[in-house]
Subunit: 414 residues, 2 copies
């Protein structure tokens, strides 16, 4: 089985397994034998909701929080329900949020963006100004550096939403930051920009100007429409492949500098303390990572043996995913998963493995490989390299124990 040649379903369904999945004429099934109310009566009129929400039947597919994780809900995080999604796009409405002093209400009319510091012409842009610059559209994932952080010292959160849900993937439209820096006449000898938001926490971060000039967007649309308030309306920074903390929401200020600021968010936070007590700083690019989203603790298997779809997400902040391997036995044997589409750089990639489940217990893992040749490590490999003190930047392989009854648990394997 290779990602170039999707597995044959016929092969999957050979023998006894086929009878498990094939539909059957259910003679006693009144849903088939009798005309049902929804086939007799009118449904909702057009535009019953000018802007629609999910059906109430999907009420459980929402952002969730973990009460004990943060001191209050204003500097906190919610998690994307990745266990219940498929494909690659994350709808804004259920995309995880992280903010440090609450999601502020800022109107387009009140929006201002300063570009200053070591520039020939300090400038202030209105929202309408930004709309006059050439713009780009691209898909990018945003992953919080703390995603899977609670897993560093062992399996803790029983669900992919909690262990890996600080990530979303949207199509952004905005102005390349490069154009605004050029407009201001940035000093080309300078090596950093400092970016901050209009919220009280401001969340200031230093970014290498090389990245700022490359692919960073000053974005005003996500998945085609305006950013939601909790995602930085009206303007946020999009920093493809880099940790989510740099993706400044309610973007207010860009300062061209020769040195990083060493702000709170890049010293006491968002650094990785190693075994010797020295901390890694400026760990910008999110290394290749993957997770099986179903089956997973919140998405148990409710059918018996036979055909089973294993599905998950893979991503890399350093390029495009080239391959995803899946194991059913905790790493003894690996199979190459099928990728849903040619992977794009710094965007989520959906993978599938179609298996004939024998009904026995499984240890499910996935392993991502990107176009730099980097292979997603085990947690043991990460621990050996970085010790046990880290919280951020855990891209270790995740293990789910799937039992014979189809239930799934977050476990640690040595």
């Amino acid at each position: 089985m290779s990602d170039a040649a999707p597995p044959s379903r016929r092969a999957v369904l050979t023998g006894a397994a086929a009878a498990m999945v094939a539909g059957r004429a259910r003679a006693d099934d009144t849903l088939i034998t009798q005309v049902q109310p929804w086939s007799r009566n009118l449904g909702d009129p057009v535009a019953a909701a000018p802007y629609g929400l999910p059906t109430p039947h999907e009420f459980d597919v929402v952002r969730r929080t973990v009460d004990w994780l943060t001191a209050d809900a204003y500097s906190s995080v919610s998690f994307t329900p990745i266990h219940a999604l498929d494909g690659t796009i994350t709808p804004q409405g259920c995309a995880f949020e992280r903010h440090h002093s609450g999601a502020i209400d800022l109107r387009k009319e009140d929006y201002r963006l300063m570009v200053m510091g070591d520039v020939a012409r300090p400038l202030v842009f209105t929202y309408a100004d930004l709309e006059r610059f050439p713009r780009d559209t691209r898909v990018a994932f945003c992953e919080c550096a703390a995603n899977s952080g609670m897993e560093w010292r062992g399996a803790q959160l029983n669900g992919a939403q909690y262990s890996h849900g600080m990530i979303h993937n949207m199509e952004y439209t905005g102005v390349p930051l490069r154009l605004l820096l050029e407009e201001a006449g940035y000093d080309t000898s300078r090596r950093w920009v400092y970016v901050e938001g209009a919220d009280a926490a401001s969340n200031g971060r230093s970014i290498p100007i090389k990245k700022a000039l490359d692919d960073v967007l000053v974005a005003f649309k996500a998945n085609g429409e305006a950013l939601r308030r909790e995602h930085g309306y009206p303007v946020r920074l999009v920093v493809p492949g880099f940790e989510g903390n740099l993706w400044i929401k309610w973007l207010r200020r860009i300062e061209v500098r020769d040195t990083p600021v060493h702000s709170r968010e890049e010293t006491s936070k968002y650094t990785d303390t190693l075994a010797d007590g020295i901390s890694r700083q400026f760990t910008f690019a999110m290394d290749a990572k993957s997770v099986i989203t179903a089956p997973s603790p919140q998405a148990p298997v409710r059918h018996g043996d036979g055909p089973l779809v294993i599905s998950g997400l893979a991503w890399s902040g350093r390029g495009a995913i080239t391959r995803v391997d899946v194991t059913l036995d905790g790493g003894q044997n690996w199979k190459v998963a099928r990728l849903a589409a040619p992977p794009a750089p710094m965007a989520l990639c959906r993978f599938y493995l179609d298996v004939a489940w024998d009904g026995a217990e499984m240890l499910l893992q996935s392993r991502a490989i990107d176009d730099t040749g980097y292979v997603q490590p085990t947690k043991a490999q990460l621990h050996a390299a970085r010790g046990m003190n880290s919280t951020y930047h855990n891209n270790g392989i995740q293990t789910w124990l799937m039992r014979a009854d189809g239930s799934v648990e977050n476990v640690e394997v040595s």
Copy 2:
């Protein structure tokens, strides 16, 4: 200027135009000189809405209807606000709807799909059965055959939302219909399938089995999450490139046949009566088409001359867009627009043209070309070929008159 080499913004901003767009330090701008409330106070807590909606400041970016277009709201249509969107993905919440007897409420537990007719094994699938088949994920546009139909006899609807908004573009996940037909053992000598929905209107349509075996999906996710009720929850058909009427919502039945059914929806409706009174039937693939979404009547230009971003959408039901041309003078001179990303087949493509507007009146048009070599025709060319009796399948070039004051009107050019 070519689509391979994006236009230089420097070139666009040369001279007087530059001063128009560049931000300025506004000494009297209290939004800059004074700390504002949103920078002093907390915003909304995390997960203020477990499933979020757009900010109220964007209250006007919604589906809209046209009261006089249909007899009632149960067999009617709403329009996507394409004039206010950017990028290519359409959020489900503002994606146009068309249904013939209302959007029904159908639970996954009550869902059944019959595959019958000329098959070895008539089958009934539950939703859970479908989840066990290998699945695909892809982006596709869905355009109602009637999109722009009111424009056939002249400019009528003053806004891109109304003239071209019966279209949306989402990432779908589902089971290839081919797999279900194979599971049932379809008679390979048969040439058609008949598909219908569980709503009262049922909206039955005949589809060539060649297409059914090619790329049609029995889809349960759109943009990663469950289909919304108005988009066919829990299961709809996705028929890439083909007219939207075939994209059966609340999919109930698939019948393998040797002939088309000649149902209401493919005889008295969704056919094109030509000048000689004979009607074209089974005009499945939507020909290449494009529209400038901004500036447009609902998205007038509120700034003076100088840098102006012209943006729009292009698509083809026969393949991928290869080029989009834009004219500012009603077709006398054409420029090649910049495409936001490598176009995918049967998916919306976003184009941009960055111009230095001289402040004078313009006649804006766009023209799409696809990888079959097909060039989007003028309305005059379509009229010459098909007469004036058509309503469906109008893919003629659209003209916007943009006045010196920035207002925009839907006009006809000869």
